[in-house]
């Protein structure tokens, strides 16, 4: 596994030029995702959350940076590793936590769990758990934008493990052929489950596929949320103004296992530490201290407030009622009426 060089461990340019408020905002958002997931992880080990739980810890800058690059009304379509984008889009931690607890006030009423976060009002369009099968669906959202002229951009997020599967190929083929307003963001965290890239990709550079789709592309290692905002922002602009799709490979790293059940024994020696050493969230915190003159105490206070928010979410989820038994029969078939016909 490529492990970053040590000199990477200095505050990146994009962070240096960012203002204090936006830096603080980005830091808070990333920290909220991390604390939310740490809380969820504990709840999982206590048996309060079940099923599969895939943590985003280490990748937060992508969701937060992307949020800063889009308008409200734009659509985020992602995988089962969806907490980061959900929170960055503004979903309520209470509703998200309750969803994972399988409770009635959950984001989708408790029927979906961790892998299926949907919050239409906040531009969170899922939450899909069959690898690659959301890619044509996302292309369909972009198709609808072009059809209706709603001016929306769709952002389709997938993992490095999803580029080899057919539905991804078909979705990208149609996006390229039909010039759809969409941005494909491949979160390359070096692994699909326990398998490193070398055993899943014929070539390391995923963007080599872009020319075959007639798509523009970009590729970079995440340093901080503003870098992500700027790089993805350019693609969003291209989509919105020119109806041109873009394939972006974002090199990132997850600090936890694939899911809670994965001890991640497959990592190389020192690999995790090297990536932690350039944790985009820590970088952002450092910028607040070194550049914007915030104190440890300031950051601790912020952290405590966020931890309290997430503890609150856990308590809310814990105390929330289960869905009523009849709920399992709802939202399957819609009755036909004059209105919806």
């Amino acid at each position: 596994m490529e492990t970053p060089e040590q000199d990477a461990v200095t505050v990146p340019e994009t962070l240096k030029v960012a203002g204090k408020d936006e830096t603080l905002h980005a830091y808070r958002e990333m920290l909220r995702i991390r604390r939310f997931e740490e809380t969820a992880a504990r709840a999982y080990t206590r048996g309060k959350i079940s099923g599969f739980l895939h943590l985003y810890i280490g990748q937060e800058a992508i969701a937060v940076g992307t949020r800063m690059a889009i308008e409200s009304g734009d659509r985020i379509v992602t995988t089962y590793r969806d907490h980061g984008f959900a929170l960055a889009q503004g979903c309520e931690p209470n509703a998200c936590m309750a969803e994972m607890f399988g409770k009635k006030p959950g984001l989708v009423g408790g029927v979906g769990g961790s892998m299926h976060f949907f919050d239409r009002a906040r531009g969170m369009w899922g939450g899909y758990a069959i690898i690659g099968n959301h890619v044509p669906v996302a292309a369909g959202h972009a198709f609808a934008s072009k059809y209706t002229g709603d001016g929306r951009v769709t952002l389709c997020v997938l993992g490095d493990g999803a580029v080899g599967i057919g539905p991804t190929h078909e979705g990208m083929t149609l996006a390229g052929l039909w010039d759809l307003p969409i941005v494909f963001i491949v979160e390359n965290n070096r692994y699909s489950m326990g398998t490193p890239l070398e055993r899943t990709l014929p070539v390391e550079d995923i963007t080599l596929r872009a020319p075959g789709y007639g798509m523009a592309c970009d590729r970079f290692t995440v340093s901080d949320p503003f870098q992500v905002r700027d790089r993805i922002g350019a693609a969003v602009k291209r989509a919105r103004e020119e109806n041109q799709p873009t394939l972006i490979e974002v090199l990132t790293y997850r600090f936890r296992g694939h899911s809670m059940s994965d001890p991640a024994k497959y990592r190389g020696k020192g690999e995790l530490e090297a990536h932690r050493a350039r944790d985009p969230m820590e970088m952002t915190g450092r910028a607040l201290r070194d550049i914007h003159g915030m104190t440890e105490a300031d950051l601790d206070a912020l952290d405590e407030a966020i931890i309290a928010e997430m503890d609150g979410a856990e308590q809310f989820a814990d105390e929330a009622p289960q869905p009523d038994p009849e709920h399992r029969f709802r939202n399957i078939i819609i009755e036909t009426t004059e209105e919806n016909a």
Partner: protein, 330 residues
């Protein structure tokens, strides 16, 4: 009343719904410039333009998924599979996205989409191009499944399917596109979920759908006017029309009257809609049945290309007649 072919009835249904609702579009292979592999979309590209009549590359998973994604945004896609055999490569989109989006999103999104095209055997196309997908799709909660065999039903039910807020699988039949029948001049929409008595009778209930409908009606004629001196039978032929949800009420009403039932259809025997019907009848009309429910369908084999082998594999009127007589002890 106009006399239309089924392909024309389908075309008119699409045309009328596209005129009525801007959100409706047709997407599939060869639907535009080529006007459809079976000419169901003749003239539609000229009338509606390439924005709403969309030719796709050969990417069934891709354009099925695009249709689903567009439906989630409020559009009303009609996705044509050149034949349902090719939906096998899009199976995941149908079972995991189309059928589940509304449920999986807690009702925040719906998926008003129609997947349509010819289903089951045509003539000498071999094993991969002659399959009935009824059993697969009717099994899946979250879908509606329709199969039509007359121009009247085709137009009325396709319009209903296009207006339906749920995903609808709409089965046509390649060999039946030229079948003619009366279609009202004024607009009409039929109700999904209702079976139709195509021929009333009192001795035996014959449940059927799709390509087996004409075969069943022929068998009913043969049973009514036997050329072999056997006792005539009054057969009630019910076209199920909707395979999910099944019109159990219509089925039970007839069987409780005739006390006998045969199910005839195009498809393999192991499980499927045919077994569902006979299971339901034995469960809910147990004390009315004078004979076991019989099924006449494909043999449990892949379809062969050779004409004689294909003919032997597909239900013929004679076999249905034999089943009707067996349950009536004639």
């Amino acid at each position: 009343m106009a006399i239309l072919q089924i392909r024309e009835a389908i075309r008119e249904a699409i045309r009328e719904e596209m005129v009525r609702d801007e959100r409706v579009f047709l997407m599939g292979e060869e639907v535009g410039h080529y006007e459809g592999a079976y000419k169901c979309s003749q003239g539609l590209l000229d009338q509606f333009g390439p924005k709403r009549i969309i030719d796709t590359p050969i990417t069934e998973t891709g354009f099925a998924g695009v249709g689903i994604g567009a439906a989630m945004c409020g559009l009303r896609p009609i996705i044509e599979f050149m034949t349902f055999n090719f939906s096998a490569v899009a199976f995941d989109q149908i079972i995991n996205n189309a059928a589940k989006i509304h449920h999986m999103t807690g009702g925040q999104f719906s998926c008003p989409i129609v997947f349509r095209g010819p289903n089951a055997a045509a003539h000498m196309l071999g094993s991969t191009h002659s399959q009935a997908f009824d059993a697969f799709y009717a099994h899946i909660p979250g879908l509606k499944v329709v199969a039509v065999a007359t121009p009247y039903d085709a137009k009325g039910l396709l319009k209903a399917a296009i207006r339906d807020p749920n995903p609808v699988i709409f089965f046509e039949a390649e060999l039946m596109y030229s079948v003619r029948g009366e279609v009202p001049d004024e607009e009409y929409v039929l109700e999904i979920g209702k079976a139709d008595i195509k021929r009333a009778g009192s001795d035996v209930t014959l449940l059927t759908w799709g390509q087996a409908v004409p075969t069943s009606l022929r068998a009913a004629e043969l049973a009514a006017e036997p050329s072999d001196g056997k006792r005539p039978l009054s057969v009630e032929v019910i076209d199920m029309l909707t395979l999910r949800p099944l019109d159990y009420a219509a089925v039970l009403a007839s069987v409780r009257k005739t006390n006998r039932a045969v199910v005839a259809y195009h498809g393999w025997p192991h499980g499927g809609v045919g077994a569902e019907l006979s299971d339901h009848i034995q469960r809910h009309a147990f004390d009315w049945l004078d004979a076991p429910v019989l099924r006449v369908c494909y043999e449990d084999i892949p379809m062969s290309y050779a004409e004689n082998l294909e003919h032997l594999t597909i239900p013929q009127p004679e076999q249905i007649l034999a089943a009707l007589r067996q349950v009536a002890y004639v």
